[in-house]
Symmetry: C2
Subunit: 235 residues, 2 copies
Amino acid sequence: MQCVKALLFDVFGTVVDWRGSLIDELTAFGAAHGVDADWTGLADAWRGAYVPSMERVRRGELPWTNLDALHRAALERLVAASGIRGLGAAELDQLTHAWHRLRPWPDSVPGLTRLKTRHVIATLSNGNVALLVNMAKHAGLPWDMVCAAELFRHYKPDPETYLGAARLLGLAPGEVMMVAAHNADLHAARSCGLKTAFLPRPAEYGPHQVADFTADSDWTVVAADIGDLAQRMGA
Amino acid sequence: MQCVKALLFDVFGTVVDWRGSLIDELTAFGAAHGVDADWTGLADAWRGAYVPSMERVRRGELPWTNLDALHRAALERLVAASGIRGLGAAELDQLTHAWHRLRPWPDSVPGLTRLKTRHVIATLSNGNVALLVNMAKHAGLPWDMVCAAELFRHYKPDPETYLGAARLLGLAPGEVMMVAAHNADLHAARSCGLKTAFLPRPAEYGPHQVADFTADSDWTVVAADIGDLAQRMGA
């Protein structure tokens, strides 16, 4: 691990609690606008649209489309399907930007702040740059660099993302460690030659969580959370 | 100026003192290795190679080549032409990385830290990402995002750089302000619709400075330094 110069973090689920944040913001929006709906169900369905939307881009069925645009299109579809009425373009934009305001898990900011003293810390997320920059401002995430799928016009787990981030940082793949709460992300990173760190986020999907409770392979590091990762990395 | 959401900073000369830093590092290298040479002249010639090297890329005579690689090639040529002997690949690499260790002007870190409280602050530099990330770590520059020519495969003043940075930040050109100590950079940014801020760095080129002592147009803001810019932006 001495050779690890930079850590790349998956963001949704690994660093921030997208589900709790979305449920809170959607529920508050409903209360403020007097719109009664299953906001928790909408949050889960919205996240459920994420992988299929990206897959359409990855398969070439859609031209390159960033995550804000995929989120916006999915929300419009889901709102219509749920029979929620009275949301115009401004409201849909406002709700789409809820993804820019997700809150970090309690260990994220202190853990990243420790890691930053000895390593380059960057995102490697399927979120777009504006989303990740706004989120970092809002949540106080102290990134040295924001790497996003958008920079490579490829979504994870395409190898262009992991290798592209290492190249931008001027590092060999083996000098970079991917950190994620999702085993599949780490399998893809390892196949590109990156080091890997797993940390579980068993509450990510709330009652719907079915996977990623534990490491499913011998990752370079398995940590309890980002603070524990900092400890293990000597920060 | 209420509509300015993000400030993009030129880096070499505007934020960091490349000349003083390079002269110090080259001179210290010469002393440590017992190599006698005109290190100040080498620093100036090295920077002198910057624009012609980028122009070859901009004209398509060279395929996309990042600034580290352009710096490395120019150094090798200049060292040979100067008759400096005994520098192998490792030493040339070490000296090329002097550009990753440039020191900020005294007002840069406090001014950026103030601006960051109310605005997104990012680089928009012809330096490559690794150079800018390592420099930020070394110098304590608190960027929210590192935008680099490399992300767009175009060097400034190509419009793809200014417009590409605004697009990545999810902003209209008029919501972004380019900050530079070089009038030419601001002319190009303004022609893309960006706001502009000039601040003079009359010591940038030492005794060789011939331009950019003052603003040559009615830029959106003309400031004394980055601290004064923060003041004028209400930070």
